[in-house]
């Protein structure tokens, strides 16, 4: 059996190397690496960072980027009370209906609503953004290789274009964007938002905060998942032990 474990481990290491190498195709940029609180086996989302990140999203990103998969009610995960969630939702307006007269009407947002998109459709979004389409951010962290580090690096990666770099009108130079030409203007500026908890709103701080918020938006069940995983694996270890003991007992009469 020891021999088998050796063979399997060797095969596993080789395969993981093969797959990792394979998946790394194309994504050769080294992103800035941040030690996120929610990564790792016991990682949980940093609630206050995520709450600040929500503020950054609402005051900065939401001007152009939708977050269509996230319902207000789920903000309770981040430590907001039910009343706070209701208040946040109520700050948005939704067209609903038709009512009994057949008319559409406008109402305040409710916790079950999802974040409203800033533009009516993709065409309208492109028209307002020089032809570029600001993507929905609901899954952004999971939709890019580099994940959190990519989003954070991108947000803090705006620089002057190097000498001789051909930057078309309306584009911006970003160290971490593929091809370095990005239509999005640098979104974050020192004190661009005023944090209610007194945290200094530096570009770096805001980038980190909004990244934590977006990581949560992309993977809201992360904490439940890891929590359950720990219990399941502990149970399986115990079960393996019992099965192994039983196996030894059952096999003791085989010669």
């Amino acid at each position: 059996m020891l021999k088998m474990i050796k063979s399997i481990s060797a095969a596993a290491v080789l395969s993981v190397m093969a797959i990792t190498g394979a998946n790394a195709a194309g994504g050769n940029i080294d992103y800035k690496s941040v030690d996120w609180q929610h990564t790792g086996m016991f990682g949980t989302y940093d609630r206050s960072a995520a709450q600040r990140g929500l503020q950054v999203y609402r005051e900065v990103c939401a001007g152009c980027h939708a977050l269509e998969l996230v319902a207000f009610r789920t903000l309770q995960d981040l430590g907001f009370t039910e009343a706070e969630v209701k208040a946040i939702a109520a700050e948005y307006e939704y067209v609903d209906g038709p009512d009994d007269e057949g008319e559409m009407f406008t109402r305040a947002g409710k916790p079950f609503d999802k974040f409203p998109a800033p533009f009516a459709n993709e065409k309208a979004a492109r028209a307002s953004n020089g032809g570029a389409y600001p993507p929905d951010l609901s899954l952004m962290v999971k939709a890019r290789s580099g994940a959190e580090n990519y989003v954070y690096s991108l947000l803090t990666g705006f620089e002057e274009a190097p000498e001789g770099f051909d930057l078309p009108e309306g584009m911006h130079y970003n160290e971490y964007f593929p091809g370095h030409k990005i239509a999005m203007a640098p979104p974050l500026f020192e004190d661009g938002v005023e944090y209610s908890d007194g945290t200094k709103a530096s570009v770096d701080q805001m980038a980190k905060d909004v990244t934590v918020f977006l990581a949560w938006a992309a993977e809201p069940k992360l904490e439940q998942r890891k929590n359950m995983g720990l219990k399941v694996i502990l149970f399986l270890l115990l079960m393996s032990g019992i099965f192994y003991a039983a196996k030894r007992k059952v096999w003791s009469d085989v010669h």
Partner: protein, 412 residues
């Protein structure tokens, strides 16, 4: 050991339909070689994974919507709103990978111990049919979330059929149900993705039937000769397989709970967009060796033929391998070749995930050439010229580690 029920109800049923006796024979007193190693656990694990996929899949389909405008968000609805939907989806998505890991190990075990040789050729064939069905099912399943890789993977793979002379284009249109991968394609893929696992289950029954007819091969590759060599399946192998399964579930859980997207591709979290092609279109990891073979040939039809040929040659394996000794344990040269072949498959996997540029094109071609060289040339030749080690007289003797009887062998 015949089945003689005492319970009157069981007796009554058994007299009319001997199904309980059949199950009893298959799962209880089925005589099994007593020397099976843990490599033999992967068969029952594969069966277990099929059940996991079917059960999670049925529940997922209750919440999924097969429509180009709704599919992507319906998957996110499962992830966010359905109770334990995230668990079901991650189980199903990672379960597919686990299924392939288990089946690949099961197949390599068959290669190492010569399990495909007479009288188990049909058993091997049925296994390959299951493998083909699995590939079709997994491919169509990957299309369902309707992300970027879903869409472009479907486009690339269905387009392969366009390489068929004369009728290729008509076949592709027929497969798509239109002139591009679109809503009809998604709908039929969903329908077939739901159907094929049950076809797999049917072939699994045939596979087990064929297995039980001659019994399992074993690490010595020698058939069971008398009662001494075998033990009943239950409780010996039920408990051994359960232990193996518990260990395997820990491995599965590590991915499921701590790296559920590791084996996936980030691009599939971007909704499908026919107007934007991803920088690199890569299939799921378990298709990468075949993808590498496909791309090793500059000609499209040639590549397609070679890719299907890579599996087709496996069907001929029982006749290509000329050695009368099954187990690599007694075949010193074949044993080395086996491990080189394994490394070759790992290299193909690696190259399959890399962009089509140097040096990967060259490495891919060499690895592809070696894949066929191994199966079509080396395997028959080794069988003819290799001098095998002395075989033990029986399984029991091998287990008791007695001095093996000399059987046309040089040394002991």
């Amino acid at each position: 050991m015949s089945f003689e029920p005492k319970n009157p109800v069981v007796k009554w049923v058994e007299h009319r339909l001997p199904i309980i006796g059949m199950m009893h024979h298959a799962l209880y007193d089925y005589p099994t070689p007593k020397n099976l190693s843990y490599w033999w656990t992967f068969g029952s694990l594969a069966g277990f994974m099929l059940v996991v996929q079917i059960v999670t899949g049925i529940v997922l389909s209750m919440h999924y919507t097969a429509h180009v405008d709704l599919a992507f968000n319906s998957v996110e609805h499962i992830m966010r709103d359905v109770n334990y939907g995230w668990l079901l989806r991650y189980m199903h998505a990672n379960g597919a990978s686990m299924f392939f890991i288990v089946v690949y190990l099961h197949m390599f075990r068959g290669l190492y111990y010569g399990s495909y040789k007479a009288p188990r050729e049909l058993l091997w064939w049925l296994g390959l049919v299951i493998f083909l069905l699995m590939m079709a099912t997994a491919f169509m399943g990957y299309v369902l979330p309707w992300g970027q890789m879903s869409f472009w993977g479907a486009t690339v793979i269905t387009n392969l059929f366009g390489a068929i002379p004369v009728v290729g284009e008509a076949i592709v249109t027929w497969l798509w149900g239109g002139f591009s991968v679109d809503n009809p394609t998604l709908n039929r893929f969903f329908s077939l993705h739901y159907l094929l696992p049950f076809v797999i289950a049917g072939v699994v029954i045939l596979h087990i039937w064929a297995l039980h007819h001659h019994g399992s091969n074993n690490p010595t590759g020698i058939e069971i000769k008398d009662k001494q060599d075998s033990i009943p399946f239950h409780p010996y192998y039920t408990i051994k397989d359960l232990f193996g399964m518990a260990i395997f579930l820990i491995f599965f859980s590590a991915f499921l709970f701590y790296a559920p997207n590791y084996l996936g591709h980030p691009d599939n979290y971007i909704p499908a967009n026919p107007l934007v092609t991803p920088a690199h279109i890569v299939p799921e990891w378990y298709f990468l060796p075949f993808y590498a073979i496909l791309r090793a040939v500059p000609d499209k039809l040639g590549g397609v033929l070679l890719m299907f040929g890579a599996i087709a040659v496996l069907f001929a394996l029982p006749w290509l391998d000329k050695s009368r000794v099954r187990s690599a344990r007694f075949r010193p040269i074949y044993k080395q070749l086996f491990w080189i072949f394994v490394i070759d498959c790992v290299i193909l996997t690696y190259v399959g995930g890399k962009p089509a540029e140097e040096p990967f094109i060259l490495i891919g071609r060499l690895a592809t050439a070696y894949y066929f060289l191994h199966i079509l040339v080396l395997l028959p030749l080794v069988g003819l010229f290799e001098k095998h080690k002395p075989l033990p007289a029986s399984i029991s003797e091998a287990v008791l580690d007695k001095k093996p009887a000399a059987e046309g062998a040089s040394n002991a």
